[in-house]
């Protein structure tokens, strides 16, 4: 189970998503700049950060995709609390822009109230700090 709650810290709205697809990733956000002096001395300028950048891909039903669309429309500028599939709590913001919801597959049966059964995939980039 994957939980999105926003806006942080009031957490007005909570959306529960299925676990992301395999292939999710996370990385540090620190940067480094290397400079070399004329005598060959190497200098590094770093920008360290506690934040991490996460990438998750979800395969959602059409209804859940519409819920996520509404969630993103409402809180794309708000801090979001994420409780990922590992139980970690991450506070951060969405880095994805634009969000592309791709209807990749059809699925049966349809989940009411929609008449069609579809699967929607979306890749979300999220940057935040693990609590």
């Amino acid at each position: 189970m994957f939980t999105l709650s926003a806006p942080y810290p009031s957490q007005q709205t909570t959306t529960i998503l299925p676990n992301p697809q395999l292939g999710n990733s996370e990385a540090n956000t620190g940067t480094i700049t290397r400079k070399v002096a004329v005598d060959g001395t190497r200098y590094t300028y770093v920008r360290s950060s506690d934040r991490r950048k996460f990438t998750w891909s979800f395969r959602l039903t059409r209804n859940k995709a519409l819920e996520l669309v509404a969630f993103i429309k409402a809180y794309h500028t708000s801090a979001v609390r994420v409780e990922d599939h590992s139980g970690r709590v991450i506070i951060g913001v969405f880095r994805t822009n634009p969000f592309e919801f791709e209807t990749a597959l059809a699925s049966k049966p349809a989940i009411l109230p929609l008449r069609r059964g579809e699967q929607v995939t979306i890749t979300v980039e999220f940057e935040g700090v693990i609590q």
Binding site: M1, T3, S5, P7, S10, Q11, Q12, T13, T14, T15, I16, L17, P18, S49, D50, R51, T61, N63, K64, A65, L66, E67, V69, A70, F71, I72, K73, A74, Y75, H76, T77, S78, A79, G92, V93, F94, R95, N97, P98, F99, E100, F101, E102, T103, A104, L105, A106, I111, P113, L114, R115, R116, E118, V120, E127
Partner: protein
Amino acid sequence: MPLRVDRQFVEILCSLASSTEHNESATVAVDVTPAATLNHAAVIGATGTLAVTAACSVTTVLGLAVSTVVDISAFAEGHIRLYEAASGCGIDVAASVLSVYNGSATVPFEITPAAYIERVISRTATTAIIVETQVAVQGVFNREIEVEVQTITPTLDTTTYLLTDIISGLDCDVIVNQDHLLGTVQPIGIRATAARTLVRADAIDLAASTEVAVGVGLVKNETGSSQVAIPIQVSVVVDKCLVGSAEIDPQCIASAAIVRTLVAECGIIVESRLGYAVSESGVEFQYRPFIGAGGAADPDPPAATLADPLDGEDGCQFIYPAVGEATDTLSLRPPQLGNRDRLSFTRILTETRGGTVIAYADVSWPKTHTLVMTFSALTPVEKDNVLAFFSNHFGQEIGFMDWERRYWRGIVMTPGEQAVQDRDDSYTINVEFEGEVA
């Protein structure tokens, strides 16, 4: 008759007329020693009165001083009449004395208030004042003395044959002028009593009255005695006196009631917010957002429920115009799977110096929703209709009824998109439609 009289010696020059058988003349020097002098005179009676009146009133304003010196002047006058009679040695002396007394005195009062000011309603101060007064009385004595001068006549005593002086009567008047200076110095005790009322911190209204009784006794040792009573009434009225700084009793108690109206505004807003999530069956698949109580500044939450789909045919339709009666329509099959809903936001992502990422977007900034669709297996007629529709309504707002029966209003962003013939009588075309659900 010339007569020279002094105090010690009286010489009388006179011519004697005697009737004797022998007509002879003689000059007799008579030594007259007055039997009555002042020292020898016995006072047989004297009456005298000396009335001394004095009045003094002082009205002053006491300043802020520890002591104040007030001069009180008194004047006394009176007269004494003495009657004297003396006798001795055959000389009777009767004298009357008229004395006139004039006296004045200046009495310096030094008032040293022992009263110190404290926060009491009334208080009494007692001041002892020593007045030293001196009254000088100058008296003039006029005395008239009648003296009988006796004439000594030598007479032969036939018995003893000695000459015997026979004293016969001789009268003489003596007038003595003598000045007397009487003086006395007498300390007079004066007790002053001051009553003070209403002591305040800034100004004090108080009144003080002082009664001074001065008794002066004059005694005339030689010729009489008299009593002098000088009543002096001194009243001191102090209108207002400031508080002496050195005399303030430090043990004062001040109480003040301060009423303050305090208005405080607190910028801290405490809000109670409740968010919840229920792990129920199918929650990962259904449209099921959990919406709690948010703050006033929170964005509008998403809709709690999903709108019901509209009934309609399978397929989609482009309609011109978007609003009003349709004049041109284009009906197609639903797009291929793989269609995308592209959400694009205009927002700012900044990173603070501390490393915090802040996302911001104004509510008026655009949010675009783009439908990316691929239509395949179009017949040549459908292909021509699509190209013609897009060409006819190039850049115009059109309506789009999607395959879920939602009506969109927007524009076709790819009017020049190519229609690719992928097989015989089959064309494929990509369409990007940007709009929002009406």
